[in-house]
Each structure stands twice: as C-alpha cells, then as structure tokens.
Amino acid sequence: MITFIVRRLIATVFLLIVVSMITFAIFFLIPRLAGQNTYQLATEYVGRNPTRAAVLQLEAKLGLDHPIWVQYGNFLKGIVFGAHYNSGTSITYCPPPCFGYSFRTQQPVWPQMVSDLPVTLSLAIGAAVIWLVGGVAIGVISALKRGTLFDRFSMGIALAGVSLPIFFTGLISLELFSYKWPIFPNVTYVPILTNPALWARNLVLPWVTLAFLYAALYARLTRAGMLETMSEDFIRTARAKGLRERNVVVRHGLRAALTPILTIFGMDLGLLLGGAILTETTFSLPGLGQFTLLAIQNQDFPEIMGVVLLAAFFIVIANMLVDILYAVIDPRVRV
C-alpha cells in the first residue's frame, strides 16, 4: 500500500512536469512552429496596447530569441526560484513561484491568485459537500424505491438540474431569493475569518446553485450504480447471512457502488478549483474564476499562464488523490 502511494506520488511529480512543458509549449513553441517569429509572438502577449516599444520590451523580457529549452529552463527556474526582471531602470525580484507580472495591475501574478483562491475554495468545497451528500442520498433512495413517485420525481428534477445552464439557475435564484424576497440580500463574499456566519450566509445561494447542477448528475449516477450493484451476487450472500437490509444496502451495496462516483467527484472538484467561472461571475464572487475571466478579457498573458498552470496542478493532484482513495477502498487495485 505504501509503495503504491509512493509510486503515485512520483508519477504525479512527473505528470506535473509534463503539464508544465505542455503549457509552455502551447504558449511558446507551437506558435513558433506555426511560423510566427518572436516579434509576432510578443505582440500577442503584450496585452491591449501593442506599441512597438512595448512589444520589443516584452520580447527581451521573455527572452524569446533564446533557444526554446533555455526559455523553458528560465520559466521553470522562475517558478521554483523566482526571477529577476530587468526593466531598464531597476531590477525587480519576483518571488517564487513566479509567473510574471500582470499587465493589468503591474503586480506579481501569484500573490493575486493566492488572495483569490480562498473564495474559490469556499465556493467549491462547500458546494461539493452539499452535492455529494445530497446527490448520493437521493440516488440511493431512488434506486431502492425504483419506479415509485419519489424516484420519478427526483429523476425528473435531476434532468432539469443537469440541463439548465448555471447562469440561468443562478440568476433566477438571485432574482427570487435575493431581490424579490430578501432572504439572502447583498450576496458578496465575506472572508470566513472576518465573519463566519455571514460568510456562510452569503455563500448559500452560490452553493445551492452550483450544487444543484452536480447533485443532479450524481443522483443519476448513484442511482444507476446502486441498481447495478444491488443485483450482484454478494448482495444475495449478505442477505443470506441474515444482515439487516439497512446494512446490506449501505455496507455492501453503497460501498461497492460508490467507487466510480468518487473518481468522478475527484475530477469534478479538481476542475472546479481551477475556477468556477460561470458561478463566480453570476454571483460576483472575486475568486479565480473571475480572475480568469478578467485575464482573458484583458489579454493579460502572465495571468492567463498562471491560472492555466494552477488549474492543471489542481486537476493532477485531485487525480492522484482519487487514485489513492480508490486503492484504499478497493483492494483489488493495490498493485
């Protein structure tokens, strides 16, 4: 088991390196292979105002005329050790991990991302708990009561949840529960340390909106998984031993049905941590999603790079954790 975890950790490190290479290649190598020269490349990344001077400055700053592996090496060095930027008048030091300076704010990208991260974390993890517990519970009950009114009703609502776009449900819930009936007035983000109660209260609408979408998916998945698992032979054996039905369903049935659900959960959470762009924008939450949107709108290249790498990092880590979790649950996987 330990060897399994160590092997997965090593594999994850390699994977992260490969991810950084691919990201780097997307931004710096592929355009060159497609025929762009360094000036054209710098023009794309210089931001909103591509004056000739700015482009040349960026070209030098990014070191675009160096060989590609030197560029990549500098890039990695910047992430690990920090980088020095010679802007002509002075040399500024950008602490690790250094993704460069934002064009929009002229500040290092990383600290900005770090300050936005708690918002996204609050949103994602809160919604994740709700949708996992709620979705699985509804799925299990629907599977056990297959064909009944509860089943049809919940699956119908689940279909709606999966189909309706999140900005639609978000705006509707804002209109109803924030403006029309002021149950949750003034939905802005309050840090948890400032005021936990208000933090939670203001996040209820975003949580429920986001969770509604995923809970619907998970309810359907759990229902299908439970139906399949409950017809397995080991369920019959469990009953033959005289176990109470509740134990048969939860300890034998649900446990077996849950493994694929957990895999998907890991992936979903990993994706969400990279920035729930639609939800954050709908509810004006200043998280990584909004950050990403602004970065794209402003063509702020360092910010875009930073967000891409961070999101990839979350997904890779989430994958690794899910793999390990899978091995903990299913002994057949522990090779």
Binding site: R146, D233, T237
Partner: protein, 385 residues
C-alpha cells in the same frame, strides 16, 4: 416430524410475458443429519426452492411480484407465514446457504475474515476480537492453511477451491442446522470438487446438520446424497433414497438422465443418448404431465392420460415416490431393458444371434449357388460373408 417439511410449495413470478410457475407443488421432508440432493435441468426450480426456503425472495424490491405459497416448516415453524424479520433472524443462524461462484458471491472489498466475522456477529453479540478468533478457527476447520495470515486476505487473493471453503466457513459460522449448497462445485475443477464434497460430508458429520445439495451433476449426487429429489418443470418427478433412484428409477425423466450419462463400464457402441426435446417454458407449462412431450412412454399408458392428467406422486416402494402414470410393473419392466448394463448385454446377445443367423443363411445360399454354379453369384457370396 422432520426438521424441514416442505408442503405444496408454489413460487410464481409475475413477469411481462406472463406468470412464471417456477415451483409448482413441491413437497418433501428432510431429517437432521441427512443429505438431500435436488437434481434437475436448468429451469427446473431447484435454486428457486432453496431461495424460497431461505426467504430470499422477499428482500428484493417491493414491486417484484413474487408469490410464495405453501408451507415450509423448519422445526415446526412455518417460514412462509412468518414475518420477514423472523426469517431474517433465522437466516445465517439456523439455516445457511453457500452459492455457486464464490468469487462473485463474496464481497470484493472486505477481507474474508471480516466477512466471516460479520456473519457471526449478526447473530451473536460478541466483540470484534472474539469474532475474529472464530473466523480463524473456522478457516482452519475447513482446511485453509495458515488461517491466522489468510484471515486478512481478500477474496481475489484466494484460489477457487479455497474461496469455496471460505464460503463454507462463513455459512457454518453460526452452527446452522440446515445447510443449503447451491451448485457448490460447478465452478470448480474435478479434483477440487472432490475435496469440497468431502469437506461438506465431514462437516455434516461433525455438526449434525441437514444438508441440501442442489446440482445438475448426477455424479455429485451419487457421491454425497442420502436421498434424491428429481425435479422437472417445478414439480417433483421422483423422490427416494439414492439407491432407489439410481438403481430402480421409476420416472422416464430419471431414465433419460441416467441413460444420457456417458459410462466407462459400457463399451462405446453408439452415440450418447440425450433426452429429446427441450425443457418446457414455465409460463406455458404443458398440460397434464409436464414431461409428456419428451417422453417415449405415453403409448404404454394408453389413451391421452399423459397429456390431460397431472400425475400424482405415488409410493412405488418404502420411501420411494414417483409421479408417473405408468403402472409400477410397467416401470420395472421398461427399466430392466433400459438399464445400461442390461442394454449392452442385450445388444451383444442380439448381435450374436444376428451374426449366427447370417452365417447360416450364407452357408445355405452358398450350397444353392454351388448347385447352379453361376459366376455372378460367386461375387454375391463373398459380399454376404
């Protein structure tokens, strides 16, 4: 009063295609310490019977439409009319079951020891340590080497025979008085089969429990069963001791089963003789005797009794019941001819007489042709010999 008394058991499933009569009037007794072998083709109702005894038809979802009627009396307590909770308490503790494929019947995520402990703790309020000790003890009893190490292994880490032993250990954890083994050896190879059967017999002697073995393998039944119940289309075709059913069978279906077995002690004269036709649909069971479309003997019964009248189980000997319209004397007569040893002897005798007749005819013809002395007939002579 026997330990297990089944009276007029009917199990029916409501399906979209119609009402499936899986078990259609089954009655038998089973005493403590005895082994009953239930034999039949796929679809004869053997497994459904065992699941009905264990009450496992109830637990599935409510809308399944399974109807169980009749009486199943375990130590004078009727299981069919008991509450689901009462039957649940008896399951595992008084009656236990082992299944055909131990790899799919054991939960893949829990260790074998954990599953055995669980079976024990459902019916006995003991600590985890005590239950674990019991699991190790049982694993040793069923012949698994190094039980203290293997108790924490998972089912996929065992071989097929070991897994089945572990299942048996799990079933015996609460000292059940009735053990039902549903095709316990079908998924195993032959040498392992023998070991498992020996194990079941030994454990039965040790625990004094009654055993029902369900199988389609007549060899297995002959090996372990005291009594044999032959089922066809959800009904009893024949029921008696092993000796009765194998040596003096009275039902044409049993004759067919025994006759279709390849044998080592009979020279390979001809092809295997299967029972013609296919097992009947349980939704549209044939009228009268369910076996009559595949039976060779309705002409001997006379009239159309076989296709109109359901045969009643009749005693043809002490403890031997057969459900067939053929008269007892007729049954014995036909079996005397059919019995494999007899058939071979007859065939050999018939061949001999045919051969001697042929040679006599050839000689007679030779004398005639010698008298007429024609070249063409010389050729014929050579052919005849």
């Amino acid at each position: 009063m026997a330990m297990l008394e089944v009276r007029d058991l009917h199990v029916q499933f409501r399906t979209d295609d119609g009402l499936v009569k899986a078990v259609d009037g089954l009655s038998f007794d089973l005493e403590r310490g005895r082994t009953l072998g239930i034999v039949g083709e796929s679809g004869s109702g053997k497994s459904v019977t065992s699941l009905a005894i264990m009450g496992l038809h109830r637990s599935s979802d409510k809308g399944s439409g399974t109807e169980v009627t009749g009486q199943i009396r375990l130590d004078d307590e009727d299981l069919v009319s008991s509450s689901a909770e009462r039957v649940r308490q008896l399951r595992g503790s008084k009656m236990a079951m082992i299944f055909q494929d131990p790899l799919s019947a054991l939960h893949p995520y829990y260790s074998v020891g954990a599953q055995i402990s669980e079976a024990y703790r459902v019916h006995n309020k003991v600590s985890k340590q005590v239950a674990r000790k019991r699991a190790i003890d049982l694993l040793g009893r069923v012949g698994i080497p190094q039980p203290t190490v293997r108790v924490d292994d998972y089912p996929h880490q065992f071989s097929g025979g070991m897994r089945q032993r572990a299942m048996i250990a799990m079933a015996l954890s609460c000292d059940p008085e009735l053990l039902i083994a549903d095709e316990p050896t079908t998924a195993l190879d032959v040498t392992v089969q023998a070991q498992i059967l020996d194990l079941i017999v030994d454990l039965q002697a040790e625990f004094g429990s009654a055993v029902i073995i369900i199988t389609h393998d007549l060899g297995v039944v002959a090996e372990v069963a005291d009594d044999v119940l032959v089922m066809y289309a959800g009904r009893v075709a024949e029921h008696g001791s092993g000796g009765d059913v194998f040596l003096q069978p009275g039902h044409p279906y049993t004759w067919g089963l025994l006759g279709s077995m390849p044998r080592l002690d009979v020279a390979r004269l001809e092809r295997l003789r299967p029972i013609r036709g296919t097992p009947p649909s349980l939704i549209h069971v044939p009228s009268g005797c369910p076996f009559h479309p595949r039976c060779n003997y309705p002409p001997q019964v006379g009239g159309d009794r076989c296709s109109t009248e359901i045969p009643v189980l009749m005693e043809t000997g002490p403890g031997h019941r057969v459900a067939c319209h053929l008269m007892l004397a007729k049954q014995q007569e036909i079996w005397a001819k059919l019995a494999p040893g007899a058939a071979a002897a007859e065939a050999a005798a018939a061949e001999e007489t045919a051969a001697t007749e042929e040679t006599a005819a050839a000689e007679a013809a030779a004398e005639e042709t010698a008298a007429s002395a024609q070249p063409g007939e010389d050729v014929t002579e050579v052919e005849a010999t």
